[in-house]
């Protein structure tokens, strides 16, 4: 059932390509239908999922026998959480793209190509197939940004595409090496995980694959594509990019690098953990200094993904749980933040410069946006009651267990996060009265928030609050998933 999420997305893409280009409203409706169907299918699949059933295979065909490649789509708790995230963001993204006027059907065609690729990565349990979907997701990103983006879009798109592709080149090298070194003529994740690669092999294969995927996850110092790319991208693309696509990288780090090379993980985790923590602090510090609203959010994504990576590398079960939860949580929250900044504010005011926004009294003209952003800001800070808090405490516990110094640095990162969030909340919506005089204020006549935006924002807010108050909903999927035999080797090397 869940496999239909992939097929529906690609069918939607094909259908959209055939639509006449003079009818944008039709394109929007088709897009909404596709996204809704995807969401429905995901929900049905989720309800049919048995959390204690380990990996549940959905489809398994022999595809290219000479190389032992199977068309294998399966799902476990971790995959399912990610599929849900994709489904939600896909749906909400369509709502927030309702105002795209130029080449609408093309936009949504690329959009669903990207979504289909994402679903595919999360559901693939054959390494080759996973890589195929991973690559499929790269090209639509380029076009979405280059054709419909804003600041510096061609450069941002190219940088993003090249970085992604370079990262995947590293990964491909690792995959081929692993396949050949294992001797088993198979690309199945489960089978390869059972093979124990020698220590020497793991010593270079692990960092190769992890860093390769880590590039897409925004790992410092290979993160520079992220702020540029996210800022250049149109709102829905930013939401997808920061919300889902960066998670492709982190998910694959877990699914491929950590599952296949657990010894390599142990060898490299202190060093890569240092990179993760640097990303947390660096991202937060840079966010603090940005003049452009969207750049703040872009860098905050780098910082939050640093948390995910820290959790993954913490060598602790709790840290792993927290990392997956944070993937979901940050996906939702990032989506929300970009939606406000991009769609609600920028599309109306045509500026993202904080000092200019300060003068516009947005709190009075866009009260809904102000409230949503404030709530989203608190969620992003890791305030209890929202999904980020539960994820972050688990990651911090994991970090304490792994490398205590990193926990403290990450804590500092959280505090800086508070600072930059408050700074933008203040500048954009609650300007400091001492800094500007009445005379400089220039409130604008802005069009009201549309119903699509409201629905989208409410859905995302609801998700973060529900998971914040009842994280068991996702943890009930995630924790048993780590019990499955696939992670046996990983668990052995990991404590608590």
């Amino acid at each position: 059932m869940l496999t239909w999420t992939i097929y529906i997305s690609f069918l939607g893409m094909a259908l959209l390509m055939c639509l006449p280009k003079e009818r944008p409203q039709l394109a929007r409706r088709v897009a909404l239908l596709t996204a809704s169907l995807g969401l429905v299918v995901a929900l049905i699949g989720a309800s049919a999922f048995k959390p204690d059933g380990g990996i549940q295979t959905l489809v398994d065909y022999s595809w290219i026998p000479t190389l032992g490649i199977q068309y294998n789509l399966s799902v476990d708790g971790i995959s399912l959480s990610m599929v849900m995230l994709t489904a939600i963001i896909a749906f909400v993204g369509v709502l927030f793209s309702w105002n795209i006027e130029t080449r609408t059907k093309e936009f949504f065609a690329y959009y669903f190509a990207l979504i289909g690729g994402c679903y595919g990565v999360f559901l693939s349990f054959d390494l080759f197939l996973l890589f195929v979907f991973y690559e499929i997701a790269i090209v639509p990103k380029y076009f979405l940004i280059a054709s419909w983006g804003s600041t510096n879009r061609e450069y941002g798109a190219m940088k993003l595409a090249i970085y992604s592709f370079a990262g995947s080149a590293l990964v491909l090298l690792g995959i081929i090496a692993a396949y050949v070194a294992s001797g088993a003529n198979s690309f199945s994740l489960v089978e390869l995980a059972q093979h124990s690669f020698s220590e020497g092999q793991q010593a270079w294969m692990f960092p190769l694959v992890f860093v390769g995927f880590g590039v897409l996850a925004g790992m410092w110092p290979f993160h520079t594509w992220a702020p540029t790319g996210h800022v250049a991208a149109p709102t829905a693309a930013s939401m997808l990019l920061a919300g889902v696509v960066m998670k492709l990288g982190a998910y694959s780090c877990l699914r491929v690098a950590m599952t296949l090379f657990p010894l390599g993980l142990q060898m490299w985790s202190p060093y890569l953990g240092a990179l993760a923590v640097t990303g947390i602090v660096y991202g937060a510090l840079v966010a603090l200094t940005q003049k452009d609203f969207k750049f703040v959010i872009g860098y905050s994504s780098v910082s939050h993904m640093g948390f995910v990576l820290l959790g993954l590398l913490s060598l602790s079960q709790i840290g792993l749980n927290g990392a997956v939860l944070q993937m979901f949580s940050h996906g939702i929250i990032a989506g929300l933040l970009f939606a406000v900044v991009g769609r609600m504010i920028y599309d109306r005011t045509h500026t993202r410069v904080l000092n200019d926004l300060q003068l516009m009294q947005l709190r009075k003209t866009l009260p809904f946006a102000a409230i949503v952003f404030v709530i989203a800001g608190f969620a992003s800070m890791g305030m209890p009651g929202f999904s980020g808090f539960v994820a972050e405490i688990q990651i911090l516990i994991g970090a304490w267990h792994g490398f205590s110094a990193y926990a403290i640095l990450a804590g500092i990162g959280v505090v800086i996060g508070v600072a930059y969030t408050l700074r933008v909340v203040q500048k954009a919506f609650y300007p400091d009265k001492t800094e500007i005089s009445r005379a400089e204020l220039k409130p604008m006549e802005l069009e009201p928030i549309t119903i699509q935006e409201k629905v989208g924002a409410v859905i995302l807010l609801a998700c973060t609050v529900v998971i914040g108050l009842f994280p068991g909903v996702l943890l009930d999927w995630i924790i048993p998933a780590f019990e499955s035999p696939l992670f046996d080797e990983l668990r052995k090397g990991v404590g608590q």
């Binding site: 000479t66 499929i136 592709f165 491909l172």
Partner: protein, 501 residues
């Protein structure tokens, strides 16, 4: 060999498709001289294109009914299922080339044009099935000479003439190298048949002369497949030649040349491969190929970055892809054969398609610079989409054929050194260069799909036949990418395995 003892019926049976092609060439000339006399060049070309295509397609079908194995004349014509597959693919390319020449206007000598295409195809067919040094050389020459002339066919363009001259001169020198190398081998091994050569040389300690011979032969082949450092003719040829001719060189000729390279190296010198794996170097032809491959991958991609002409860019990308395919050749295994066949065919399809699109644009806009592609999405959405398919396949993006080709080639390369992953270093270079190549491929796509068209850019109306061909090729690229098993030869029966009669 006593000619009177030849079993002509056997020869004819195995060589039926080639015979049909020759007859077809004559038929084309005949029709042109008689029936179509006095007609307009465009009309003549459409009819003759159709005839040529039909002839090629008949050839494809004939292969289906022929025995899939067999050998005549002491290895001059050796068939195996893989060889038959390769020959069919060459015929497909011939047909496609003919069809994209529909209504060409750059020459009045239409009949000669199509006849030359068919003759070149014949040469390629014989080349693929040759396991005899003499046959190899003769068919190589037949192919080359036909192609030299085809390149020069656009008499109105100086570039065409210059390209042809360069191609001819380079080709002549390369042919000399090949011939010299092959004769040295004959001298050393005492036979012209590849299998006999292998038998005679087996177990012997190779000496300097042998290496010289092999290297010379490789130089000659290297020219034909346009790998660095023997690539200098390629960009000019691709850019200057009339589009269908360039397409044909990049496709059919490459497939045949790669395949014969495989034959010679695997069947003839399988033992002397040596090892280019990191950590345990052994001299042989594998390290030599490693040098060619690395140079091609690096030079091809880096120089392509600087190109403003799409055709030259495609040429350099072809050089790079030659490098990638060489990695598969280096594998010296059954996987290597399968990978090379798949790669050269699918890359050929993508290149043919890309050339066709560029050709259409060039016809209507006058030049083949990247900027003339601007706004193709609005001017002709179908062409733009197909171009995207071809370019992304070349870039190696799944689920298109180019991805699997590269993947298989690299995997075959790494597998061959197993269990210690010897050739992984060259695969690493290959992947790195692929990442570089992504940049220039995206530039092309940026022009076509993202940028708006220039103010007075003319609309593009492609000839319906050409358009149909382009679309069909695009579909096949997608299909072969999703279901590679359609094209993978049954690797249980590899080239030259002792199965011929």
């Amino acid at each position: 060999m006593n000619p009177l003892q030849f079993d002509y019926s056997a020869i004819l049976k195995l060589a039926l498709p080639e015979t049909i092609l020759v007859l077809g060439a004559i038929l084309v000339l005949f029709i042109d001289l008689t029936v179509m006399r006095g007609r307009d060049a465009a009309d003549r070309s459409s009819v003759l294109a159709l005839v040529s295509a039909i002839v090629s397609i008949i050839g494809i079908f004939v292969f289906q009914f022929l025995p899939k194995t067999g050998s005549v004349l002491d290895g001059m014509l050796v068939l195996s299922p893989t060889t038959v597959l390769v020959k069919q693919c060459i015929l497909v390319f011939a047909a496609l080339t003919a069809l994209i020449s529909w209504r060409v206007r750059f020459t009045e000598h239409i009949g000669e044009y199509f006849a030359l295409i068919l003759f070149a195809t014949t040469g390629m067919l014989f080349l693929s099935s040759a396991q005899h040094l003499l046959m190899l050389f003769v068919s190589l020459e037949l192919t080359s000479l036909s192609l030299y002339v085809l390149v020069a066919f656009n008499k109105e363009s100086r570039a065409s003439a210059e390209a042809a001259l360069k191609y001819f001169l380079f080709g002549g020198v390369a042919a000399a190298f090949t011939l010299f190398g092959l004769s040295l081998i004959y001298g050393i091994a005492g036979s012209l048949n590849l299998e006999t050569i292998a038998m005679n040389l087996s177990g012997k300690e190779p000496d300097l002369i042998f290496y010289v011979a092999v290297v010379m032969a490789l130089i000659g082949f290297g020219f034909k497949i346009a790998v660095a450092p023997f690539h200098l003719w390629a960009p000019d040829a691709y850019q200057g030649a009339p589009t269908p001719a360039a397409a044909f060189i990049a496709t059919g000729s490459k497939v045949a040349s790669f395949y014969i390279l495989l034959q010679v190296l695997y069947v003839g010198f399988g033992e002397f491969a040596g090892d280019a794996g990191g950590g345990h170097f052994e001299s042989g032809w594998q390290p030599v190929l490693a040098i060619f491959a690395t140079l091609s991958m690096v030079i091809g991609n880096l120089v392509a970055l600087a190109q403003t002409s799409v055709k030259r860019l495609l040429a350099y990308s072809a050089i790079a892809h030659g490098g990638y395919a060489l990695v598969a050749v280096m594998a010296n295994s059954v996987d290597g054969t399968a990978a090379v066949v798949y790669y050269s065919v699918t890359y050929g399809l993508a290149t043919l398609g890309a050339f066709a699109v560029v050709g259409v644009v060039e016809d209507q806009c006058g030049d083949d610079s990247m900027t003339s592609l601007a706004g193709l999405k609005e001017r002709s959405p179908v062409l733009a989409l197909c171009l995207m398919v071809f370019i992304l396949s070349a870039a190696g993006i799944p689920p298109l054929a180019g991805f699997f080709g590269k993947f298989y080639a690299f995997t075959a390369g790494v597998k061959s050194g197993s269990p210690d992953l010897g050739l992984i270093w060259i695969v690493a270079i290959g992947l790195l260069m692929s990442a570089v190549s992504f940049y220039y491929y995206l530039q092309v796509l940026k022009q076509a799909m993202v940028l708006p068209s220039a103010k007075n850019a003319p609309a593009i109306h492609a000839n319906p036949v050409v358009l149909l061909v382009i679309v069909l090729v695009a579909i096949s690229v997608i299909l072969l990418g999703c279901f590679p098993t359609l094209l993978l030869p049954d690797t249980g029966v590899a080239v030259g395995v002792l199965s011929s009669g």
